[in-house]
C-alpha cells in the first residue's frame, strides 16, 4: 500500500488523479481477505471486573442522586436549577423530574469537561478561557485569565485548515468584502450565487462523480435530504452507530427503519433477504426502495465501513447505498478523497455520497453528490433547497480554497504534504498508544483514536488531569456510548508536529499508569 501511495502522490499533481478502479471478483472470500490484509480493526470488550465496577459506580451515583433529590424536595438543600415562573406554577410542568435526573445528579458534577470556551482558533494549539465554579459546576465564572498553548486533541481539524495565516485566508477575506456574509434567500429563490455553482462543480470533480449540491449546514444536509429520497413504503437499513442526523432524517422520512449490527455484513445480508422476501409490514407489498445508510468513519468507534463488501451486497440485492463521509472525506485515502479512494472503489457505485465540510476543510456545511439525475431531483425536492438559506459566500470560498489545496490545483504540494502528515501522525500515535498498553478501538487508518477508560469516574479524572498538563481532550460517556465503554477520544491533525504528539504521549503515559491501565 505504501508503494501505491507514494506513486500516486508524486504523479503530476496538477491533473485530477483518476480513481483507481480495481475490478473486484465478487467472491466473498477474496473480499474478506482483501480487507483483512489492508486493515485491522479491534474492539476488545471490557474485562469483567471493570464492567462490574462501572455498573456499581453508576448505581452508587444514582442512589446518591435520589438522596439529594429527596433533600432538595424537603428543603434541606438549595435548588440550583432555574425554576418556573410564579404566574405559571399551575401549568403542567415542562420537564418531568425524572427527565432531568441525569442532568441534575450526574452530568452537573462533571460538566466542566465540556463546552470549554476557546479564545483562539481551533488549531493544533489553542488558548482556553479559564473558568471556575464556586458552586460545584452549577454556574461558571470566567476568571479572565487564559490558559495558553494547550495542545488540542479534541477538534476535528484533520488537515489543519483551521488556521489564520494571512496569505492563506486572503481569498476568503476578499469574498467576505465583496459578497458580505449573509445570503438572505433560499437556493430556489434568489439564493443561488455564482460561487455556489463553482463550488458544486469543484466538489463533483473532487469526488469523481457527475454532480453535487452543497448546503449550509451539515446536520441539516442529512435530516432534510433523506426525506426527499425515501418515504412511506421504503425500507432503510441503518447501521447501529449512525449519527443523530441520519437517524433524524430517517425518522422524518416516514420509511420503515431496521437497524443492523455495527459493520456486520452477515447480519445486514440476513436483514436484506428477510425484508425482500417478506415485503412491507402487514400488507406484504414489495418495498418501493431499500436504502442502506452507513458512515465512512464512525467518530465514536474509529471504525471504517467495509465498503467493498457493502457494494457487493447492494448490487446483489438491488439496494441503494447512502454513504455519510463526514469524518472520512479529506482524512483518508492517498488523495484525501475518502473511503472510496481508500478501498479503490468506483465512486459511481455509491448511490448517494454525502459529507460535511466542517472537519477536514475547516469550514461549515455539507454536500450530497452522485449522478446528475439524483442531484437534479434533490435540487427540486430537497427541503433544504426550498426553505433554508444557502451557504455563506466566504465559507464557500474557504472550501474552494481547501479543495484546490488538497488536489494541488493551487500549484503547491501543500495538500499532499498534509494528507501524508495526517496518515503518518495517525499511524505513529496509534502504534505508540497500543505499545503503552491502552485499549484503543477502530481501524489503523482512522484519524479518530478512542482510548477506552470504561469507568465514568476515570474518564472525568482523566480529562481534568490532562487539562492541568495543558492537553485538551474530549471524553465521552453514557449516554453517547454504551454504559461500560466510556472513552477519551483523540483527533489527529495534519497540523500536529511530532513534538506535540510526543508530549501528548508522554503525559498520557504518566496519567494512564496510576489508573492501572499499564497492563494490557
Amino acid at each position: 500500500m505504501t508503494a501505491d501511495f507514494v506513486r500516486h502522490a508524486t504523479e503530476q499533481p496538477e491533473h485530477w488523479p483518476v480513481q483507481s478502479q480495481k475490478q473486484y471478483d465478487w467472491n466473498r472470500e477474496n473480499i474478506s481477505i482483501e480487507i483483512k490484509n489492508h486493515r485491522q480493526e479491534d474492539f476488545e470488550k471490557a474485562p469483567m471486573h471493570v464492567a462490574v465496577l462501572t455498573y456499581l459506580g453508576f448505581g452508587i451515583v444514582t442512589l446518591f442522586g435520589y438522596f439529594r433529590d429527596f433533600l432538595r424536595a424537603v428543603g434541606l438543600e438549595k435548588r440550583n436549577l432555574a425554576q418556573e415562573r410564579e404566574e405559571q406554577k399551575e401549568f403542567v410542568p415542562l420537564y418531568q423530574d425524572f427527565e432531568n435526573f441525569y442532568t441534575r445528579n450526574l452530568y452537573m458534577r462533571v460538566r466542566d469537561n465540556w463546552n470549554r470556551p476557546l479564545c483562539s482558533l481551533p488549531g493544533p494549539v489553542i488558548d482556553l478561557m479559564e473558568r471556575v465554579s464556586d458552586d460545584y459546576n452549577w454556574t461558571f465564572r470566567l476568571t479572565g485569565r487564559t490558559i495558553h498553548n494547550v495542545i488540542n486533541m479534541g477538534s476535528y481539524n484533520y488537515l489543519g485548515f483551521a488556521e489564520n495565516t494571512a496569505d492563506y485566508l486572503e481569498t476568503v477575506a476578499d469574498k467576505a468584502r465583496h459578497y458580505g456574509v449573509g445570503v438572505c434567500s433560499t437556493r430556489q429563490e434568489t439564493g443561488t450565487l455564482d460561487i455556489h455553482v463553482e463550488l458544486e462543480y469543484l466538489v463533483a470533480r473532487f469526488l469523481g462523480v457527475e454532480s453535487s449540491m452543497v448546503f449550509g449546514m451539515g446536520f441539516a444536509t442529512n435530516s432534510m435530504n433523506i426525506p426527499a429520497l425515501v418515504g412511506k413504503g421504503c425500507l432503510i437499513l441503518s447501521d447501529e452507530l449512525n449519527h443523530t442526523s441520519l437517524i433524524l432524517g430517517a425518522r422524518l422520512s416516514g420509511a420503515t427503519i431496521k437497524v443492523f449490527k455495527h459493520n456486520d455484513m452477515v447480519h445486514l445480508e440476513k436483514e436484506l433477504r428477510d425484508s425482500i422476501c417478506s415485503g412491507q409490514p402487514r400488507t406484504h407489498r414489495p418495498w418501493r426502495k431499500i436504502l442502506i445508510m452507513v458512515e465512512g468513519i464512525y467518530s465514536m468507534e474509529g471504525s471504517v465501513v467495509r465498503l467493498p463488501e457493502l457494494i457487493a451486497l447492494k448490487k446483489r440485492y438491488k439496494a441503494c447505498l447512502y454513504l455519510d463521509e463526514a469524518h472520512s472525506i479529506g482524512a483518508v485515502g492517498p488523495g484525501g478523497r475518502g473511503v472510496t479512494e481508500l478501498f479503490g472503489v468506483n465512486p459511481a457505485d455509491v448511490d448517494v455520497m454525502m459529507g460535511t465540510f466542517t472537519k477536514s476543510f475547516g469550514a461549515a456545511g455539507g454536500y450530497i453528490a452522485g449522478k446528475k439525475e439524483l442531484v437534479d431531483y434533490l435540487r427540486s425536492r430537497s427541503h433544504s433547497a426550498m426553505y433554508t438559506s444557502s451557504m455563506s459566500p466566504p465559507i464557500a470560498e474557504q472550501i474552494i480554497r481547501a479543495i484546490k489545496c488538497i488536489t494541488g490545483h493551487d500549484g503547491s504540494t501543500e495538500g499532499i504534504r498534509r494528507i501524508r502528515q495526517l496518515a503518518e501522525n495517525t499511524r505513529y500515535f496509534r502504534a505508540k498508544v497500543k505499545k503503552m498498553g491502552f485499549i484503543i478501538y477502530g481501524n489503523d487508518d482512522s484519524p479518530v483514536v478512542p482510548i477506552l477508560l470504561y469507568m465514568p469516574g476515570k474518564v472525568v479524572a482523566f480529562a481534568r488531569e490532562m487539562l492541568e498538563r495543558k492537553i485538551a481532550v474530549v471524553v465521552v460517556g453514557f449516554p453517547a456510548t454504551p454504559i461500560t465503554e466510556a472513552r477519551a477520544r483523540f483527533c489527529m491533525s495534519a497540523a500536529h508536529t511530532k513534538d506535540m504528539l510526543d508530549e501528548v504521549l508522554h503525559h498520557l503515559d504518566e496519567v494512564g499508569d496510576p489508573d492501572g491501565e499499564g497492563d494490557s
Partner: protein
C-alpha cells in the same frame, strides 16, 4: 472435608426415599417440562421461515425497486433556477442582468454594511473560518437549536420548518384555522374536556401553542394579546417563531412582543433565524433559562451539529449592535412597507396579500386557472417580464407535496430600506404592465 460432603449426599438420598410419592411425581413432571421447553424451537409467526431457499432466491430475483431519484423533465421550473452573480444586495445581478432587488430578505440592508463586514473580517483573522466541532467539544463560539415538544396547537399557515420540527418531536398536533382565535379556543375547550375525563394523563401532558410573529406565507401578524389571554385561561405555553418579525416590528425592532406591548416573559420560547433582517446565517432561541438550559443538553441541532462559524456570529453581533444604535431604521422600514402596500393595491388580475407593515408581501392571482402548475407558469412569466425590465422578483417556492396546507402560488415582493420611492414606482409600473399584457 470429603466425609462432610458425603454425609450431605447421604442425607439427600435419604430425603428422596422418604418423600411422599405425589411430590416425586410432580417434581418429575416439572423437570420433564423444563427439558421440553429448553429444547423446543421458538415459535415465530414469521412466514419467511416457511419459505424454501429456492423460493427466497426467486423473490429476491424478481424484486425490482423504483429508481432512487426519478428523472425530472428538463423544463421543470425547479432545475432551471436563477443564478446571482456577486452579492444579492440592493442592485442584484441576476442571470447576468442588473436589477433592483425586490426578492432577497435583506430588510435592513445590513448585507452590505461596512461595519458588519469589518467585524466579520477581524473575526476571520482571529478565529479562522470553521469551528471544527460541536459546542460540547471545543466548539463553543456560536449557536443553533431544535426543540422537542409534546402536545401542540399549530396555526395552519405556520411555515414548513415549524411543521418538520413538530414532526420530529413526535407530539400530537392539532391545527387551528389561521389567526382564528375562536377556532383555537374551541380546540382548547375540547382539550379541557378530555383532560377532565382523564386527569392523570392531563397532569403530564404538556400543551403548547405554536405561532409565528409575522407569517412568511400569508404576511400577516398573529394576535398576540389574545393568545396570551388564552394562555393563562387554559394553561398552555406559547412558542413564538419570529424569523420575519425580529428586526422589523416594534419601535426598537424587538419583534411582535414589542409591537403589541406584551411582556416578553409571557412567551415561553422565542425562536428566530438570523437570515432576514440580521443578514447573517443561523438562528437563535431565547427565553427564560428555565426553558433554554434544558435545550443545551437535549436540542439535537445544538448538541450534535458543528457550531456556527465565528465569522458569521461576529457579523450577527455587529448587526444587532447597529440595530440597537439606530432604532430609526425601523421607522424608515415601516414607512417604506406602507408605501409599497399602498402602491401595489389595485393591480388588475393580481391581489396583494399581507399586512401594511409586513416587509415580505405576496402577489397572488385574483382568479386561479384551477391548476397550480399553470398558475405558477403564469406568475413566472410575470417575474421574467419584470426581470427583463430590471426589477428582480421571485416566485414563492414550496414543496407542494410535503406541505400540509400548501399556500396558493404567489410572487414574493420584499421591501428593504435601501429601496427608494423611484425604485418602488418603477417596480409597480413593471408589474402593472406585466399583468395587463400577460393576464388575459
Amino acid at each position: 472435608m470429603a466425609s462432610g460432603q458425603q454425609w450431605v449426599l447421604v442425607e439427600m438420598v435419604q430425603a428422596l426415599y422418604e418423600a411422599p410419592s405425589y411430590h416425586l411425581i410432580l417434581e418429575g413432571i416439572l423437570i420433564l417440562w423444563i427439558i421440553r421447553l429448553l429444547f423446543s424451537k421458538t415459535y415465530r409467526l414469521h412466514e419467511t421461515n416457511k419459505l424454501t431457499e429456492k423460493e427466497k432466491e426467486d423473490l429476491i430475483e424478481e424484486w425490482q425497486p423504483e429508481p432512487l431519484a426519478p428523472t425530472i423533465s428538463k423544463d421543470s421550473p425547479y432545475i432551471t433556477y436563477d443564478v446571482v452573480t456577486g452579492p444579492p444586495s440592493h442592485k442584484i445581478i441576476i442571470n447576468g442582468k442588473e436589477c433592483i432587488n425586490f426578492a432577497s430578505f435583506n430588510f435592513l440592508g445590513l448585507l452590505d454594511n461596512e461595519r458588519v463586514k469589518q467585524k466579520a473580517l477581524s473575526s476571520l483573522k482571529k478565529y479562522g473560518v470553521g469551528t471544527c466541532g460541536p459546542r460540547g467539544f471545543y466548539g463553543t463560539f456560536g449557536t443553533l437549536a431544535l426543540i422537542s415538544l409534546y402536545f401542540v396547537f399549530r396555526d395552519e399557515a405556520a411555515c414548513f420548518s415549524i411543521q418538520k420540527g413538530l414532526q420530529a418531536s413526535r407530539s400530537f398536533i392539532k391545527y387551528f384555522k389561521h389567526n382564528d382565535m375562536h377556532d383555537l379556543e374551541r380546540l382548547l375547550q375540547e382539550q379541557e374536556l378530555e383532560d377532565q375525563q382523564n386527569p392523570r394523563k392531563a397532569r403530564v401532558t404538556r400543551k403548547f401553542i405554536v405561532v409565528e410573529g409575522l407569517y412568511i406565507n400569508t404576511a400577516d401578524i398573529c394576535p398576540l394579546p389574545e393568545l396570551v389571554k388564552l394562555k393563562y385561561k387554559y394553561k398552555v405555553r406559547i412558542f413564538l417563531e419570529e424569523s420575519m418579525s425580529f428586526g422589523v416590528l416594534g419601535e426598537h425592532g424587538r419583534g411582535v412582543t414589542e409591537h403589541f406591548g406584551v411582556k416578553i416573559e409571557d412567551i415561553d420560547l422565542i425562536s428566530a433565524n438570523m437570515e432576514n433582517s440580521v443578514a447573517s446565517i443561523g438562528g437563535f432561541c431565547c427565553g427564560r433559562s428555565f426553558v433554554i438550559d434544558h435545550q443545551r443538553l437535549s436540542g439535537q441541532g445544538y448538541c450534535f451539529s458543528a457550531s456556527l462559524p465565528p465569522m458569521l456570529a461576529a457579523a450577527a453581533i455587529e448587526a444587532l449592535s447597529i440595530m440597537q444604535e439606530n432604532p430609526d431604521i425601523f421607522t424608515v422600514l415601516r414607512k417604506k412597507c406602507t408605501y409599497v402596500y399602498k402602491e401595489l393595491q389595485g393591480i388588475p388580475g393580481l391581489k396583494l396579500v399581507g399586512m401594511q407593515f409586513a416587509p415580505a408581501l405576496h402577489l397572488q392571482l385574483e382568479k386561479s386557472s384551477g391548476s397550480r402548475e399553470s398558475d405558477m407558469q403564469m406568475l413566472r412569466s410575470i417575474v421574467d417580464y419584470c426581470m427583463e425590465r430590471q426589477v428582480a422578483l421571485t416566485l414563492a417556492r414550496y414543496l407542494e407535496k410535503e406541505e400540509r396546507y400548501p399556500p396558493p402560488p404567489s410572487i414574493r415582493v420584499v421591501v428593504t430600506i435601501e429601496q427608494t420611492e423611484e425604485d418602488i414606482l418603477k417596480a409597480k409600473s413593471c408589474i402593472q404592465e406585466a399583468a395587463l399584457t400577460l393576464l388575459k
